[in-house]
Symmetry: C2
């Protein structure tokens, strides 16, 4: 399946507008940064930085929060550092986070999803795929 294209800046902006939220310069900037980052994981500070420091960090958090509420952005907490945000609808892809280099790889996978549900369903547990990360060591750090 062709993974649905990550939302473009315009899509994000349109989403804000559709939700009745106002489209302001700072929000446009944040949307542009997110869209250009693709699937890359950015911290709030990264986003703020890429807007050319034109947007206050608190505003970035508020905007990210709004977008997340619309389901157009996801955020995860990996290890100790700051939370990571990235565009994308609630797709079925999971994050593999390297404990050593901190790099993140994501995999779109049904098998895993099905296996997880096979475990959680009997327990009545509803897994949140978006918030799901597998920690370990990536090829580079593990292999040597």
């Amino acid at each position: 399946m062709a993974p649905s294209e990550p939302s473009s800046a315009d899509d994000l902006v349109a989403g804000l507008r559709r939700a009745g939220l106002r489209v302001t310069a700072p929000r446009r900037a944040v949307c542009a940064v997110l869209a250009s980052a693709g699937e890359e994981h950015l911290t709030a500070a990264d986003v703020a930085g890429r807007t050319g420091a034109a947007v206050d960090l608190s505003t970035v958090y508020r905007t990210l929060d709004a977008l997340e509420g619309l389901g157009m952005v996801q955020h995860v907490h990996l290890g100790h550092g700051a939370g990571a945000y990235h565009v994308g609808p609630s797709e079925d892809h999971h994050h593999l986070v390297c404990e050593e280099c901190g790099r993140t790889v994501d995999v779109a996978l049904e098998t895993l999803q099905r296996a997880i549900e096979g475990v959680t369903a009997p327990l009545g547990f509803v897994p949140d795929a978006a918030h799901f990360a597998i920690v370990g060591r990536c090829a580079a750090c593990a292999g040597g």
Copy 2:
């Protein structure tokens, strides 16, 4: 299935001693709390609280860190809140953490393990089972 018994307070203390670390009253207290919590996930503050506030938070962190270094305690970061610590060696069981009530259920599962490896192996990624948690909503919170 009888999951291998979590370490007892004595085991933890013995571990410290074996590592050449000193066995002090605060450390004993932390070990006792961890042992009595079983597989429950505790934040550093929880641990401090259960010692009867007899142990300073910074000391709790230092002790937890020491025990983690010995591989007798694991810690994970779930969602936004504080990190969660719990006793236990690197077993092959995973944690289902409820975002709403914070309760944790653990499942010892091969299917899941195999599915995960099926995904990560091709990428050369080495998953760390102990650090692995599935976030979602438990039956009580999801079902209503």
